[in-house]
Amino acid sequence: MDSRRFSADRPAATYLPAGVRRAVKIVVVGHFGVGKTTFIGSLSEIEPLRTEEKMTVASAPVDDLSGAGAKETTTVALDFGRITLSEELVLYLFGTPGQQRFVQLWEDMTVGALGALLLVDPARLESTFPVIDLVESFGLDYAVAVNSFDPSVRFEESEIREALDLLPDTPVVHCDARDVASSAEALKELVRHLLTRKG
């Protein structure tokens, strides 16, 4: 085996306080380049971590019948961070690209998740459609965080709701993933929503 994989160029592990007994997780999803890694980095107490996952994907477009059955492996990054919430509870945030072809990784990532925060760039709403399909197909409750890259573009919440066909009670909040307070507010809004879902 290649021993260089174990070289010390990674940050040393920061262990959890001894009293922490329970872990929960929330997934941070959204299309390519929407700010998932930035968001996780803003809130994480540890240097955000990443694993490289090998995925099997169809090598031809799904709608290309001649390519049916052709497969290749590709690598996709799983990003995550950690927030110790109390003396005995820790929250993990996991993020990965929202593409149908990474459905295997999604399965792993969403097992036991409390819910999902869906990052959306209002200038690229159509890129969110496949992600929202994935979130819904995994039965995750979610909130939408609009990560507006161009501050001069004021988004109309109603347009976003309509374009994404959101349920009336799905929260839509504004968020700058580079800003800690703004990111935390989006996460709190999701948790409040999950609480109302519990009834």
Binding site: F6, K54, T73, R82
Partner: protein
């Protein structure tokens, strides 16, 4: 789209390129999820013919609790590989894990309230 059985096959082959699995069924995320907390059990001895990966896991898990995803990331291993190695160590009694987190539907209100309260305490 690929069918689940084909995915299993290819993932299996991939994991086998890292470790000897003995043809066993690979553990899934429901067996050991990414956020399950693990640590080395007290007073255990490293198995004599431990692979470099197992030695690295031994070192990192000796210091306290971490999630299985953190173990994978610190070792530069894909999570499927880390999951298999950690499951083996747990079965051999070398590894402790905190009770597996409940599935989302079963998470109680109290836990969600703790999450919200924790976020408010930390971030205002």
């Amino acid at each position: 789209m690929t069918t689940p059985s084909e995915d299993d096959l290819v993932t299996g082959d991939f994991v086998r390129s890292y470790v000897i699995t003995g043809g066993r069924r690979l553990p899934s995320a429901t067996d050991l999820s990414l956020h399950t907390l693990v640590t080395l059990a007290p007073d255990r001895e490293l198995p004599r013919r431990a692979s470099p990966e197992v030695r690295a896991i031994w070192d990192i898990c000796g210091g306290g609790y971490l999630s299985m995803a953190e173990v994978a990331a610190h070792l530069g291993l894909p999570t499927a590989v880390a999951r298999l190695l950690l499951t083996d160590l747990a079965e051999q009694g070398h590894l402790l894990r905190r009770a597996a987190p409940p599935p989302a539907q079963a998470v109680d209100r109290g836990t969600l309230e703790e999450v919200l309260h924790g976020l408010q305490t930390l971030f205002g």
